[in-house]
Structures are given as C-alpha cells and as structure tokens.
C-alpha cells in the first residue's frame, strides 16, 4: 500500500518552513494556480499546483466555487419538490440523479414501481449515460489536443438531448422521474426514433474509435498515465469507470440490481492496467453496452401503468435509508433521514465526482502539467456535483 496524501487546508496554510530563496536561481518550485478559470478544469475547479519546471510535486484541488447549498435546500422542500434540485447536481446526467433520489424515497415508502415505468427509467438512464459519456469523450479529447472527436460526439449528444426534449420538454435539467414512477408515458413515435438511433449508434462509436483508439499519440498520452490499482480504488472509495478500468468488475447495475437490470443482458467492461487509456476503453465499451440495453428495453415495452401507488401527501415515518444507482460517473447515492413530516430532515448526497476527485493528488504526483489535464478528464468530474 502506498502512502496516502490528503489535500491540505488551503484557507489556513501551515507556516512555511522553507527559508526564502536568496537569489532568483535558488527557486526550484513554482506555485501555479490551475483554475478556477481554466478551459480544462471542466468548470470552476481550482487546483493549486506546486511544480518544478513542468513536473508536478503536489496538486491540491480546491473545490467549492459552485457551492449552492443543495443539501440544505432539500430540507425546506417537500419530497416531490426536491426532484428538480437533483437535476442541478450532475447537470450532464440529470436522469440518473432523478432516479437515485426517487429510488431512495420509494425505498423509504416501500412503493412498487410498475414494470413499464421501470423499463422506461432504464431507457432514460442509459440514454443519459450515453450523453454523459459523449460529453466526457469529446472534452477529454480536446484536453489532449484532439479537437475533431468533440464535434462527432456532440452531434450524437444533440440527438439524445432532442429525445429528452421530446419526452419531457427539457434538454439538460430533465426532472423526468417522479416518486413511484414517471411523469409521462412514451409515445410510439418516440420509441421508434430512439430505436433507429440506437441501432445506428455502434457505427458512430466506430467513428470515434477510428480517430483515437489506435492513434499513436493518443496512446502515448494516456497509456501509463494516472495508474491506480483496484485495491487503492476501494480504499479511496472510487467507483464507476475508474474502478472498472483498474480491473474490478464493480457496477451497481450488476452488483445491486435495481429496476429491471437483473433480467437484461449486458457485460460490465473492465480494464487491466488502471491507466487513463484503460478508462477510455472502458467508457467506450460502456457506450456500446448502453446501446444494447436500450435496445432490449425497447423490445420489452408493453402497455401498462407508469405510476405506482403513492399517497397524495408523502409523509414517511422517521427512518434512515440509503439507496444508490450507477450514474455515468460512479455510485450516486442518497442518504435520507426522515422525521415523520412531509420534508426530509436531512438528505445527504454521495456524489461520485467529488469522491473520485479526491484521488487527483494521488494520481497527479510525479506527472507533468500536461498529464494533469488528462487526469482531470479521465476522472470525469462535473462541478455541479462536486460542489453541490
């Protein structure tokens, strides 16, 4: 086991023990503020870098620039009113946020979700996973200087957002699930369009892979960068494509199946080396699997109810409960404490981005500044979720 590094307290820095350099030539370290205004931090993340030339001695992420007090907001809203707030956590994957929250409240109320609603939820989740991974692939390509995949990815993402818009009227902050089911039923034409798109999707993934997978420079920039073992992933609490890239087959859709994932046929792709390249391969493979899952769900759709039996006023008994889903970034969980009123007493989010970001100092040490950009990309953070 390697030594652990914890980010220091930036606002109360320890007194400097190093004597002030005598001349300009004594300086070997430079402090570099990477962000909060930087194109590659994917939002308002600030990283305080200590660099020796280009080599990173220490990288300390400073989060909180996008803090909106979401968890506190939950306490002043009734249970159904909290759903739109969850959209704003990981704003490139709102459907899975809605899902995780609804799942938690349903577990608390012991509500059964009808089968049609389960299937549609899975379809929405997987489409969301596709769009989230597409954003990841495009932006992390740009981080490493490959600009073209970005446009291809966003071409497909636009289509997916169009589907969401047609389903629920919103493109990003979807608010597309309700406690006990769904707000709307699917139209047959929607299912047809999605099915057409999904059948074509693997060929689009081939396009991205043609540009990147066997690209010598892409491999040079990603193979062996940010290696982390599966044991360390477990110790750090890393989830999602990161832990799978390190070779551990840990996917909540398989490990703790929710909705109808149990009956669906898909594989959980894993990597071997736990480096940035393997995480890339894992995410690309996941896109193909998601397309497969959507296909299966569309084939299984049958007419039926879309909302379970939920009381008009939701007033659960006092209890503490935790439920989680596999969001595109990892395990997204909600820890809910109810106190018998119509509002949660406390609702804590387990955000995968935030917890995965912790590993950045560990991953970045000894790499170059250019690799830091690759590492932020490979962790796949969304600052809305990191800061909440």
């Amino acid at each position: 086991m390697t030594e652990r590094v914890f980010p220091g307290d930036l606002h109360n820095p320890p007194p400097r023990t190093v004597a002030a350099p005598k001349t300009l030539f004594d300086v070997t370290e430079m402090e570099l503020n990477f962000g909060p205004q930087h194109p590659s931090t994917h939002g308002v993340l600030r990283i305080v870098l200590k660099v020796d030339g280009e080599k990173i001695i220490e990288a300390i992420p400073d989060v909180g620039y996008l803090h909106r007090g979401t968890e506190k907001l939950f306490e002043s809203e009734t249970y159904p009113m909290a759903i739109p707030h969850t959209d704003r956590l990981d704003y490139v994957a709102a459907a899975t946020n809605n899902h995780a929250y609804c799942l938690t409240v349903e577990k608390l109320l012991a509500v059964e979700v009808p089968r049609r609603a389960q299937l549609i939820r899975v379809i929405l989740d997987e489409l969301q996973r596709l769009s989230s991974h597409l954003v990841w692939l495009g932006t992390s390509g740009i981080d490493l200087g490959a600009v073209t995949p970005f446009w291809y990815c966003f071409r497909e993402r636009e289509q997916i957002l169009d589907f969401f818009e047609e389903y629920c009227g919103a493109r990003l902050t979807l608010n597309c699930m309700r406690i006990g089911g769904l707000p709307f039923d699917l139209t047959p034409s929607w299912a047809e369009k999605v099915s057409e798109f999904i059948d074509d999707f693997p060929s689009r993934v081939d396009d991205y892979e043609t540009l990147l997978t066997d690209n010598r420079i892409w491999k040079k920039r990603t193979v062996g960068v940010g290696v982390i073992s599966a044991e360390e992933c477990v110790e750090w609490g890393l989830t999602g494509p990161i832990i799978r890239g390190s070779g551990l087959e840990w996917d909540l859709r398989r490990a703790q199946p929710y909705e109808c994932y149990e009956e669906l046929d898909f594989i959980v792709p894993t990597g071997k080396n736990g480096d940035t390249y393997d995480r890339y391969l894992v995410r690309v493979a996941e896109m193909r699997q998601s397309a497969k899952i959507v296909r299966q769900c569309l084939d299984r759709l049958e007419p039926g109810e879309i909302r379970g039996k939920v009381p008009r006023v939701i007033k659960p008994v006092a209890e503490e409960i935790y439920a989680s889903v596999e969001s595109p970034k990892g395990e997204l969980g909600f820890y809910l404490v109810s106190n018998g009123t119509n509002k949660p007493y406390r609702l804590h989010v387990r955000p995968p981005s935030f917890i995965n970001l912790q590993a950045l100092p560990r991953l970045a040490r000894g790499h170059l500044v250019s690799d830091l950009v690759a590492l932020i990309g490979t962790i796949d953070i969304v600052l809305g979720e990191v800061d909440r």
Binding site: M30, L32, N33, H38, P39, S40, G53, E54, G141, I142, D143, L144, G145, A146, V147, T148, F150, W151, Y152, R155, D206, E209, T210, L211, L212, T213, D214, N215, I217, W218, K220, R221, L281, L368, V369, S370, D371, V373
Partner: protein, 379 residues
Amino acid sequence: MTPARADIVFTIAKILILVNLVPAVIGFVIVYAERRIMGFMQGRLGPNRVGPQGILQGLADLLKLVTKEDLTPTRAEKVSHFLGPVLSVIPALTALALIPFGAAIRVPGGYEVPLWVADINVGLLFLLGVTSIGVYGIILGGWASNNKFSLLGGLRSAAQLVSYEVPMGLAIVAVLMMSRSMSLVEIVRMQDRLHLWFIFPGLVSFFIYFVAGVAETNRNPFDLPEAESELVSGFNTEYSGIKFAFYFLGEYTAMIVVSSVAVTLFFGGWLAPFPHLLPFLGAVPGVVWFLGKVAVFLFGYIWFRSTFPRYRFDQLMNLGWKWLIPMALVNMMIVAGCLLADVSAGRGLRALGWVLTGIFVILLLLSKLRRRLTLAEAR
C-alpha cells in the same frame, strides 16, 4: 530606364509583392481555408457570414484585431513584450525573400525578371539562421508577459524549437549533398537537370524535415507552447490587438516558409511534374505549380490539426533527440554512399529512390493491416 535602375525598381517591386503581399494574401486564404476545411472535417460549416461563403472572414478578423485595445500588463517587461511579436514576424518574412516562387518571367520592356528576391549562394544556411531568430520572439513574449502560464509556454518553445533545429538542419544536409549547392534556385535547377525530384532519394530527409518543420511552426501535434487546453494559449496569453495579430501572422508566415522550402528542396519548386510523360503540363506557369504544391502542404497542416492529439513535452523531446537525429545521421551516410557510387548522372540516387519508395509502400500497407487488426480486436 538603364538596366541598373530597372534592377532596383524590380527588386523593390518584388520585395513588396513577394515578401509583403504574398504572405498577406496566402495568410488570408489559409486562415479562411483552415477554419472552413476543419469545419467540413468536423461536420459543421465554419465561417460563412462575412462575404460570399464567408471568404472575407480574414479581413473581418484583421479589422477586429487592429482596432482592439493593445494591452500590456502593468508588471510586464515593456521592451521585451513589444519585441516578442516583432521578432516573430520579421524573420519569417525575411525568409520568404529567398524562396524561388518561379522561373524568370518576361515583362514588357524586354526585361527578364526572376521570381525571387535574392539568390544567395549560402541560401539554405541563411534561411536556417533567420528562421531560428523567430524562436526569440516566442521566448521573449512568454517571459516578458510576467505570467506563469506564458512562462511555461516560453520555456517549452525554447526547448522545442532549439532541439528541432538540429534534425531539420541534418535533414537538409542530405539535400545539399544531392544538389551540391546551398542556393535554393540552384537546388531546383539541379532537380530539373537530373529529372529527379529529391523527394525520392530524400524520402527520409523529407519526413524528418517536415516533422521538424511542423514542430518549428508550433502547429499540431506539436503546438505545446500555446496548448490552449493546458497553458491557456501559453506565450501569447497576455497579447491582444495588433501584437497578437503579429504573432498570428508570424505563425502563418512560418508555415508558408516551411512549406515553400519543402517544395523547393524536395518537390522540384516551380517545375511541372512528369516532363517526359506529360509535357503539356509545362505550359502552366511555374509559379502556379509552386503555389499549388505549397497549398498541398498547407492543407496537410490543417489536416494534422484536425486529426492528431497533442504530444507531451518529454515525448516531444524524445522524438526529436532519440529518433529524428539518429535517423537523419544514418540517412546522411546512406545518401553519401549512393552519391559516391555514381556522381554525375544520379543513377545511385535513382536506385535509392526506388528502394525507399518500395520500403515506404510496404510500411504503409503493414501499418494499415495492423490498424485494421487492432481496431477489430478493440470492437
């Protein structure tokens, strides 16, 4: 007009046209073409609003840059901050004076005007010298801005540009031996005389020269000094307005210079291809051939930019010092051997050309095959 006075008039006219007008016009064209072609490669339109099909976009950009406020950071080193863009653009323009754009043309009045400003007998040496001054523009700009990101950009460019001068020079030595002259005009004439473009015997030289040339001009995949996603534009972060436009012009002129030199050294300059097979191609003026060949190279630059990710700094240095320089040295020996075998008629060079072309084709096919296999495996 006396011949001496005519000479002066023509020289000034040529300087105005070839050194000032041509890069400006090509610059406009290539900026537009770059954005437009990249647009099409990426499934979008690119600029299409200013003028028909957006062709006046370059003019609009220039107007914007010229009228913008020219900011200098308060803590910047004022003199160096000013010198940076100047030093980056002037050497690039000076280098253009040596490029033979075409054979001599006749003008009214019975004068023969060669389409180059200066034919110096140590042309190539002068060219290498002048272009390496351009490095200072970037280093100074990065250092004088008093910005840590710019400083890193400047440092990167210092290391990168200095190390890539070496393989570039070594690659050119092979051409020097083939042409037995350092004058760019003489090199083209030699290719005409031998009926052999130096690309065939100099395939390896060309490869090294072009890779180093792309690195020298800070373009993808070697655009580390600016690397917008890492260093937020690096050395030019603190530049705006006309100074930024100068860096921009410097970069694009350097691209034109590298492409022109590549065409002159390896692709027969203004010569028409296949003089025996297709003699009618010779009817097209040489300058058209020259510009056409340069355009192909500039397209290559754009193509690279939309295809490749960026190298990392240490990998870039590895490539330069551990691969390109040894390759260039070995190549020099081989070319020298072939020249010894047959000095006058270039038969040794021809044989080398066939061998290299054969190897190239085989490698190309093998890499295609390998790529297909790995991609199939990944799916």
